[in-house]
């Protein structure tokens, strides 16, 4: 018990809550979170492919789910996550060339990634709805 108390009393290294808000560290976290979400989200792709193999009934079920509000929301989240993680990845690849580390550059890259992921998601969905309208 005395040991435990002594351990608690030790100084701890500061964690993110003591630092001033920075867009770049939030983006670092978002990159990891979107990656982890997509890791589990790929199950939807597997479900979709297996439904296509299984037959018209199974495929209709997938299409029904993607048509519900929750389904649409999940697919919207998947689309944004995929695009955001891809753009975030390109940002990392730019850093791998040793460029883009300056205070203005890294801030600009973070903002461009957010603006890019939101606008590209919108474009993909607008095109998607146009295609769906044409196919029906």
């Amino acid at each position: 018990m005395a040991d435990t108390k002594a351990r608690v009393a030790r100084p701890l290294s500061p964690h993110i809550q003591i630092y001033r808000f920075m867009l770049t560290y939030v983006m670092s976290g978002v990159h990891r979170v979107t990656g982890a979400a997509l890791y589990f989200g790929i199950v939807l792709v597997v479900w979709w492919l297996m439904a296509a193999v299984s037959g018209p009934n199974a495929y209709a079920k997938v299409q029904w789910f993607m048509g519900t509000h929750i389904g649409r929301l999940v697919v919207l989240g998947f689309t944004w996550g995929l695009i955001h993680h891809t753009l975030g990845g390109i940002r990392h690849l730019i850093w791998d060339t040793t460029h883009g580390f300056g205070p203005n550059e890294r801030e600009w890259l973070a903002r461009a990634t957010i603006a890019g992921s939101i606008s590209l998601t919108l474009i993909v969905w607008i095109v998607g709805y146009l295609v769906m309208g044409g196919a029906e």
Partner: protein, 131 residues
């Protein structure tokens, strides 16, 4: 002679070799490799999904089973699974410090990756060959 000292190489020389041969930082390198490949493959995947929106089962099967689409889908799935398993491994070793849970999580990660990759590959090939 001690077998660990049976070489003329210094420890620094050995470490250097690992870095320069792209073998000592294999995971890091493979994550870059799959991220570069992932950019065009992700675009291809999104285009394929859009092309299939609103189509019925017969049309979807025909498109998914066509050679170019099937090959792009296979590349996308294999590349993505490899990339995401490296990423999840990174997350696991960052947050899971208990040895037992860490190894269980790493095993689950590998099993999940193989399950996703092989199920998808099976589906795409079955659609392509129509058996």
């Amino acid at each position: 002679m001690d077998p660990t000292h049976a070489t003329m190489k210094t420890p620094l020389g050995r470490a250097r070799g690992l870095g320069a041969a792209r073998a000592g930082t294999e995971t890091f390198w493979h994550q870059r490799l799959t991220s570069v490949a992932g950019v065009p493959l992700t675009i291809a995947f999104i285009v394929i999904v859009i092309a299939l929106l609103g189509r019925n089962h017969a049309a979807a099967v025909q498109i998914l089973g066509s050679p170019l689409v099937a090959i792009l889908m296979l590349l996308f799935i294999i590349n993505t699974v490899y990339h995401m398993c490296i990423g999840m491994q990174e997350i696991i070793v960052d947050y899971v410090h208990d040895e037992m849970w860490k190894y269980l999580a790493l095993m689950a990660n590998t099993f999940f990756g193989f399950a996703v990759a092989l199920t998808s590959t099976y589906a795409i090939l079955k659609l392509s060959f129509g058996v």
